[in-house]
């Protein structure tokens, strides 16, 4: 086995002039772009990321060469002694305002007549909301290993998308896809941080293995992973709203800018999702939205607990709370008047087919949190308060969101979901899918679904390893797609087996392939199609206390009520949602950093998860599902609801209009002084 370490660019933008390696001991060798036998790039959603940068450098820390050898400690020294000389150019770092050459993807959509609606509006309110970069802090840093296994090159990597790894390695080595075998490793909690990046590391390991003729392994340290792997993209969402005489929402004008960093590998998907849900849970007859995925010279940015929707949902919920406060109405009531209802049109022109569950969710969550009484009380205190208080001051906020789940909206992944089920002679069931299950009991959901359809014991159902040699392509696995799309395919494949069960001899095998009934189309400022297979709803309340001296917010409680359709294992789902609420609170209180032009190792040491002792009691509840409701993806809902509710609570406690999280004490103080 040889280890592989990365030589990285010292500049954010420019080109490599020369790389001087120290004298390499026997058994060690350098790997340059010219050593890559096939294509020097991996393709993700139409964007190409180089395996090793050759002509142009796009971010500080970009891989420019590899060093391979038997001793990782010696390799560390050799990498440190390697000198990379670059011609540097002024990097693009601005993204809230940007030049046209920075635009990776643009999306425009209009419904109704927003201009007319704004011209006759009773009041117009405008604000901008920003979301910061968030580290996934997955269970294990990214890595990959590669070795020849007879006539194939085998890749071991913890990836959400095994077939992407396979195809990328095949391109890099210039071989057939069938000559690459990907053996996915345990993922743990990934929060969508292991979608395409493992493919890059797998290509580097595969190239090193082929060049050196030995098994090769690359494993990033936590610090390297923090500094150079994708994070949640930063976003800035400006919302301008028009209200009618009685405070009803008549129009929205929304501008979304998402900083997708260098190369923009997931930009199309992230932006599409953000634009599609930009009006959040609200019915708006006149809507104009323009969205931009903006490239900058920072490491590639990506998804986090969902693929972009949380940017818009945070902004629109924060804005809804601000609108309600501006017209002196309880946000819960304003939301109730403006929420999407049966028959309301979505941005795509598709009508909502069923009654939305907001009232039921609100009733449950308000009763559990005593929201109405607390909101009225804290509002009274806020209005009567003059200047800074001596004691702790409290606030409470509410937010509402939906999570659509379905296949990806863009790129090559849209139509590649397949699951195979086999009923064997011993009545054992084998499920084959390349969907890699992370933490959260997804495999149990699939097993339970199969056991119910085929009427066999749960112990008889096995989900095979998602090895690309045997499992069919089930697309990129994200938690919500694993629960919604892949689970539905498991059900269908098992139903197909069941139909043939007493007609054909065992073993019986059936495949189920997902077809997108109405793919999303963006044409001439209009968007059409049905983006989501299932829609789950949630309502969250956050109550907090603001220390009057330090201005440090201390959450007192979080209440989340979810309409998640059929919940296969309520205890397990509650536990997973509670963990996600804790993570979402972490993004409100502690987790944020600003990737810049250079690698700042101290950022890694400043960043950390929220200590568990800062978490308040977290209450999770579900709406009772009717018998035939499908299993829905619900894992993103805490990230879609909790931050906006937190911001509303903090704004009420501080009596100020805040627009981003986490909020440093200095910003709260400044906002309080302005008001």
């Amino acid at each position: 086995m040889i280890y592989v370490q990365t030589v990285r660019s010292p500049v954010a933008r420019g080109s490599v002039r020369s790389i001087s390696f120290p004298k390499l001991p026997a058994g060690y060798r350098s790997i340059l772009p010219a050593d890559i036998p096939g294509r020097n790039g991996i393709v993700s959603f139409g964007a190409e990321v180089p395996i090793l940068a050759q002509d142009a450098i796009s971010y500080a820390g970009e891989p420019v060469a590899l060093l391979a050898g038997p001793d990782p400690l010696r390799l560390e020294e050799l990498v440190a002694e390697t000198k990379v000389l670059c011609d540097s150019v002024e990097p693009f770092l601005c993204w809230e305002s940007f030049s046209s050459e920075q635009v990776a993807v643009k999306r425009l959509a209009t419904t109704g007549d927003p201009e007319l609606a704004f011209s006759i509006a009773s009041s117009v309110l405008e604000a901008t909301y920003t979301s910061g970069a968030i580290e996934h802090y997955y269970s294990e840093p990214q890595g990959a290993a590669a070795a020849y296994d007879y006539d194939k090159i085998a890749i071991w990597s913890a990836t959400q998308w095994p077939y992407h790894v396979r195809d990328s390695v095949a391109l890099a080595l210039g071989c057939k896809a069938q000559e690459v075998s990907v053996r996915p490793m345990k993922l743990g909690v990934h929060l969508d941080g292991k979608l395409w990046y493992p493919s890059l590391l797998s290509c580097q390991a595969a190239v090193a293995s082929v060049v050196c003729g030995r098994p090769a392994k690359i494993l990033l340290t936590r610090e390297e992973d923090f500094l150079y792997s994708p994070k949640r993209a930063r976003s800035s969402v400006s919302v301008r709203s028009a209200l009618g005489r009685s405070g009803e929402l008549t129009a929205l004008d929304i501008r979304i800018a998402i900083n997708v960093g260098a190369y923009a590998p997931l930009a199309e998907e992230i932006l599409s999702q953000a634009v599609l849900v930009c009006a959040g849970a609200y019915a708006c007859p006149n809507l104009r939205v323009e969205g931009y995925a903006v490239k900058t010279n920072t490491p590639p940015m990506g998804a986090f607990g969902g693929l972009g929707a949380s940017h818009s949902l945070f902004a629109i919920e924060a804005h809804a709370n601000r609108v309600a406060q501006a017209i002196g109405e309880d946000p819960a009531d304003w939301k109730s008047r403006n929420v999407l209802r049966k028959g309301s049109l979505l941005l795509t022109g598709e009508p909502i087919k069923e009654e939305t569950p907001y009232e039921a969710l609100l009733a449950k969550v308000a009763a559990a949190s005593d929201y109405r009484r607390k909101y009225a009380g804290y509002e009274l205190v806020r209005k009567r308060r003059s200047g800074r208080s001596d004691g702790p001051i409290r606030g409470i906020g509410i937010s509402l969101a939906y999570q659509g789940a379905g296949p990806f909206l863009s790129g090559e992944a849209s139509n590649s979901y397949t699951v195979e089920a086999t009923l064997n002679k011993d009545l054992g069931v084998r499920i084959l899918t390349s969907a890699a299950a992370g933490a959260g009991g997804v495999v149990e959901v699939w097993r339970q679904s199969a056991a119910e359809i085929l009427g066999v014991d749960l112990e008889k159902v096995a989900v095979a390893s998602p090895d690309t040699d045997q499992a069919p392509d089930s697309g990129p696995s994200t938690l919500s797609r694993n629960v919604s799309v892949v689970n539905r395919l498991v059900l269908r494949a098992c139903e197909a087996v069941q139909k043939r069960r007493f007609r054909d001899p065992l073993p019986i095998t059936a495949r189920s392939v997902h077809r997108v009934p109405k793919p999303i189309k963006w044409e001439g400022g209009q968007v059409s199609g049905a983006p989501f297979d299932t829609v789950a709803w949630a309502c969250a309340v956050v109550e907090l206390e603001l220390d009057a001296a330090t201005l440090e917010p201390r959450p007192l409680g979080v209440w989340l009520c979810v309409d998640g359709g059929k919940v296969v294992s309520p205890d397990r789902a509650k536990s997973a949602l509670r963990a996600s609420v804790a993570d979402a609170l972490g993004t409100c209180l502690a987790e944020r950093f600003e990737p810049g032009a250079g690698s700042d190792p101290s950022a890694y040491f400043r960043y950390g998860l929220l200590p568990l002792n800062r978490l308040p009691p977290i209450s999770i509840d579900f709406l009772e599902a009717s018998g035939k409701e499908p299993v829905k993806g619900i894992g993103e809902l805490p990230f879609d609801t909790v931050p906006a509710a937190f911001l509303a609570a903090l704004s009420q406690a501080s009596d100020s209009a805040l627009s981003s999280l986490p909020v440093p004490a200095a910003t709260i103080l400044k906002a309080m002084e302005i008001l």
Binding site: L73, Y137, Y138, S139, E140, P141, K186, G188, V189, L191, T221, R222, E223, G438, A439, G440, G441, D571, R572, S575, A576, R578, A579, V581, A582, D583, F605, G608, L609, P611, L612, N613, L615, P617, I618
Partner: protein
């Protein structure tokens, strides 16, 4: 240099260099893959081991300083009755970890219960922050450690009664 120490109850020796970290020696030299070396800065808790009875992040311990001491990794701890209590207690409370943080969480719970057989919820939460991970909700961890304490107490009482 060659050092000798007690590893999971056995006398062992290892050739180490000055810059070697204990975590690397345990993992690469002795194949103890339960000791992970992720952050190499003592923050992630994946490499926790008992060194001379104290719970320490082995990535921050120079390997040579283990000379003459007793080290227990999760593999060694898994052979004890206490480990069985903890695993059963975690299962009772419905704790489902991602797998990567399970060992560290067990080690932290063990160290805590060694010091405080009936820890308060806040104490449990504070200690469990030593093995940070996004996978497990804090309520389950509190219930789990309390369930372990209960099991352990029952086992000790049973033994005392025999």
């Amino acid at each position: 240099m060659t050092i000798t120490f007690i590893l999971n109850g056995e006398d062992v020796s290892a050739k180490v260099r000055v810059p070697d970290r204990l975590s690397d020696v345990l993992r690469d030299g002795f194949g103890l893959l339960g000791v992970r070396s992720d952050c190499r800065s003592g923050r992630c808790g994946r490499c926790l081991v008992f060194l001379g009875g104290s719970l320490v992040p082995s990535c921050l311990v120079p390997a040579f300083s283990a000379r003459g001491k007793e080290i227990v990794t999760i593999e060694g701890y898994a052979q004890t009755d206490d480990y069985a209590d903890i695993v059963a207690g975690f299962a009772d409370a419905g704790v489902e970890t991602c797998g990567f943080c399970e060992g560290p969480k067990i080690m932290v719970a063990a160290a805590l219960l060694e010091r405080d057989p009936r820890p308060a919820p806040l104490t449990i939460i504070e200690h469990m922050s030593a093995a940070p991970c996004r996978c497990t909700d804090p309520d389950s961890l509190v219930k789990a450690v309390q369930a372990v304490a209960e099991r352990r107490a029952n086992r000790i009482y049973r033994r005392a009664g025999q």
